[in-house]
């Protein structure tokens, strides 16, 4: 979620930044909500003050032996109006929250502008692709020949975009997962975690899959609204949801190896062959939570010349 200050004060600049990633910010709608919110805020405060003043005068009137009924009626009427204003304020606030939860993050200034993956910018390459003196098989044919990687069996068991691995290929798959976990925990200081493969709505809201990208997820058909995790980033990052951690606990470096489940709703027949795009696949995920100050310091080291707007966006860092 973007800093609400950017959407209240710097609306034009924020809209410009969002336009870089192809997101059109509905400025008019936000401005309308914001002015309504301010109006209701002032109204609520005024009603509150007025009611307090009137309530106090009841005591005085009573002491003077005056008829307090008209005052009581007035206070009760003010109370009703205050409740109504508060309710409306809460509605406008909820509408505002809803609107801004659908706005993506601002791209860092160093991100190249572009529309699709064709505009991504190559940084560097490592290694030279091997020259083969025989006909290269792809993994589907390699698996079919040996029977150790079986998409047809998986299709019988479940459907398209699943795989069954057996024997040496299943073992190689496990070896890779273990090698990755061991490297991260033993060499790079990450803590190994085991996490639930289903998460609740709050977790998915926290990492941003919901409310906008629900169709990419598998949702369980019961009233709890659990979803299968599309990546263990969701459970890992949500460790700190609604928490205040001590500085000494940072950076928090977490890793988990889990299956990931994706509906691939928008893939439209892309990569239907083999293991490239599956509904269920394993991933070892790394998640690092760190302090803003440290991040800022690091950012300052690596980016000396940022435009003032970006500086105002707090700590935009490179890594």
């Amino acid at each position: 979620m973007l800093d609400p200050k950017l959407l209240r004060g710097d609306l034009d600049a924020t809209a410009q930044q969002l336009a870089r990633r192809g997101f059109e910010l509905d400025k008019a709608a936000l401005q309308a909500l914001e002015s309504r919110r301010r109006e209701l805020q002032t109204q609520t405060e005024q009603l509150q003050n007025e009611r307090n003043t009137r309530s106090k005068s009841i005591g005085k009137a009573k002491a003077n032996g005056e008829d307090i009924q008209p005052l009581l009626d007035e206070v009760s009427d003010l109370g009703d109006r205050l409740d109504a204003a508060k309710r409306e304020l809460a509605e406008v606030q909820a509408e505002w929250d809803d609107a801004i939860s659908g706005i993506p993050n601002l791209p860092h200034e160093s991100v190249p502008e572009g529309k699709s993956e064709d505009d991504n910018v190559e940084l560097h390459r490592w290694g030279t692709p091997r020259e083969f003196d025989f006909e290269v098989l792809d993994h589907v044919d390699l698996g079919k020949k040996s029977g150790y990687l079986d998409f047809e069996l998986a299709a019988k068991l479940t459907g398209a975009r699943f795989a069954v691995m057996r024997g040496p290929i299943a073992r190689l798959h496990r070896a890779l997962a273990q090698f990755m976990l061991d490297t991260q925990t033993q060499q790079h200081g990450y803590e190994e975690c085991y996490v639930p493969y289903m998460v609740n709505r709050d977790s998915l809201m926290g990492t941003g899959q919901l409310p906008k990208f629900g169709e990419d997820l598998f949702k369980l058909n019961d009233e709890r609204e659990y979803h299968l995790i599309p990546t263990s980033e969701v459970p890992l990052t949500n460790f700190v949801r609604d928490e205040i951690v001590e500085l000494a606990a940072l950076p928090m470096k977490l890793t988990a190896h889990t299956p990931c489940f994706r509906s691939e709703a928008g893939s439209h027949g892309r990569d239907t062959r083999g293991m490239i795009r599956q509904h269920q696949f394993d991933k070892s995920r790394w998640c690092k939570l760190w302090s803003r100050r440290r991040a800022t310091k690091r950012w300052k080291r690596c980016a000396a010349t940022q435009k003032p707007f970006c500086r105002r966006l707090s700590c935009r860092i490179g890594w």
Binding site: D119, P168, V245, D282, R285, S291
Partner: protein, 124 residues
Amino acid sequence: MRGHAEAILQALELPYRVVTLCTGDMGFGAAKTYDLEVWLPSQNTYREISSVSNCEDFQARRMQARYRHPDAKKPQLLHTLNGSGLAVGRCLLAVLENHQQADGSITVPAPLQPYLGGLERLAL
């Protein structure tokens, strides 16, 4: 974090390239994303195998994930950095395809051998 993913691909002797995602290709919560793409000989191209994103305080604000700093009066928002590590399935197919031999066997990269009982070659 990107270095960690690169180190793993290098240890597995898999050629790869690193790309910076453009503004239109980045995920919802990311301020900046690097993708690692591994070479797939059968497709004669590089395919995504890992993604490292800096979400800055975007996720933390949604989650109200904060930390206490002695110099600050109020708790501050955390920053989140996410690396996919590596997609194991895509890594598996990259190992199968890049390290295949004419007889159909697979050469096992050295760091994986201890996990396979010391096997240097996987007969398929």
